[in-house]
Amino acid sequence: MHTSDESETHISHVDPAIEARGLTRAFGDFVAVDRLDLTVARGELLSLLGPNGAGKTTTIKMLCCLLRPTCGTASVMGYDIQRDPIGVKHVIALSPQETAIAEHLNAWENLRLMAGLHGFRKREATRQSGELLEMMGLAGRADERVKKYSGGMKRRLSLAMALVSEPQVLFLDEPTLGLDPQSRRAIWEYIEGLKGKTTIVMTTHYLEEADALADRIEIIDEAKIIAVGTPDELKHSISDGRVTIVEAEKLTDEAIRALRDIYPAVRPIDRGVEIEAEAVSLYDIEDVLRPKGIVVQSTYQKQVTLDDVFLELTGKQLRE
């Protein structure tokens, strides 16, 4: 469903950045990822969305050559993950879910280490590190050993360490988990800026995050992909008709029954009812309710969220 946006962000579907076929990983009897097919275009931001234990991290670890697939194949920028892991590692970076930093080094040393391991020269590494320290709000304490950092600072540094090598493909495993809203906002903006240039695979169980950043979402549950689409496509997929919320006090059962005579799909909610129908007329509703002494306080269109999509598809909430 990309149209004008797409030409701006240079997503190329000709030669995909990541291609996985039948990717499977079992731990004993437990199948963590089950015959996963995945194609990510160059410059695209794909979000893997799913509850804990759905198989998101296992998928990313296989694509980063940290875990051997039980069966199936995958390639990253044309490098086969099993035949040429070093080739893959030249073009990727991973920001793991856990904070991954060298505690006895300072922030500069941590960043320059990662840049150095990716073959950056010293001057380049320093320039790149300086920019990231500034962006992450760590510049003021960049010479301190990171052991003394707060949890949030460590997480920001950990993320910066994945960005410093300017990877062609970036894997972000829960990039903003446990961050304060300001940090999260800053990181979203940075990721937004990478879109179109860097191919990104991001796992998250923050639906707002996927909604705000992803070009495409794959919903993963119990080791399998159960839905794919842009955020809008996914929302439309579960709600053909539009949902209108009617808020009114003292709504009796009898009144709800009367409403159902006009609109078959009426569900009582906390402070009123939810009506699913192509078109809802306020006049019709008031005609039914006013004679019963019930005053309509407000009516509005309900926004379908990815939460609703997830609930509809899996029968469970993403976050308990």
Binding site: L67, K89, T99, A100, H104, L113, G116, L117
Partner: protein, 240 residues
């Protein structure tokens, strides 16, 4: 050189951990002083015989410290991050080993310096002694690499105990030839006895390279095998 970048980081970690660095360097020196003091009563520990034993003990500490660093790192997410960079198993072993080499040299020099103060006299070429000890240091660091790559943080101390026992069987504290029998046979299967025999032969009897060749081959052979095994152990750990 990617391995040097990694070595630089590990070197920094080693020098910024003064407690374990101090233990590794100071403990063997203390041991030398104490054992030397004891030998005043009993002639059992002659300085020339004792000094290589103490150096060997220092290397066992070094092996322990290298293994702990690696094993601790492996349990940390930082290590997963390193595994997503283009470092090869060779780079990893080099990057984790190199920082311990200067520590080993410092250890040996310090022990010999203190021994000299305590009256150490050498009959042979001291450079040859240091060469033997350098090869031995590589062997112990490589043992630390295997241990750190294969075992968990909780298991490493047990492996350390085993290596320490083997070093003692090798004659770090006593003359295994004097004890003889099964004790001596077991000791001679491992390279530690040969490293000590070579170092002592040069120090005490003034032996040259030709005279210690056989013992040196034992140590070199073991070192080569252990280095190859350490790389293999690493390779196995890189992809689960």
């Amino acid at each position: 050189m990617r391995s040097l970048e990694l070595a630089k980081r590990n070197m920094t970690e080693v020098w910024r951990d003064p407690v374990s660095l101090g233990l590794t360097i100071v403990l063997p020196v203390l041991m030398l002083v104490v054992l030397q003091a004891l030998s005043g009563v009993d002639d059992f520990f002659e300085t020339a015989s004792l000094t290589p034993g103490v150096v060997l003990f220092g290397f066992v500490m070094l092996m322990f410290s290298a293994a702990m660093t690696l094993s601790r790192d492996r349990e940390n997410a930082f290590f997963s991050r390193l595994l997503t960079t283009p470092l090869t198993p060779n780079d990893f072993v080099t990057g984790y080993s190199l920082p311990y080499l200067p520590v080993a040299i410092l250890q040996a020099l310090l022990i010999f310096a203190v021994a000299a103060v305590l009256g150490l006299e050498t009959a042979g070429n001291l450079a040859l002694v240091f060469f033997v000890l350098l090869v031995t240091a590589v062997l112990f660091i490589a043992l630390g690499m295997i241990t750190g790559a294969v075992f968990t943080l909780k298991q490493v101390p047990f492996v350390y105990m085993v290596i320490l026992l083997l070093a003692i069987f090798g004659g770090a504290w006593m003359d295994i030839e004097a004890i003889g029998g099964a004790f001596q046979s077991v000791g001679n299967v491992f390279p530690f006895a040969h490293a000590l025999a070579a170092a002592r032969a040069v120090l005490i009897d003034g032996a040259d390279l030709g005279a210690i060749a056989t013992d040196l081959y034992w140590v070199l052979g073991y070192t080569a095998v252990v280095v190859v095994l350490a790389v293999a152990a690493f390779r196995g750990r890189m992809l689960e």
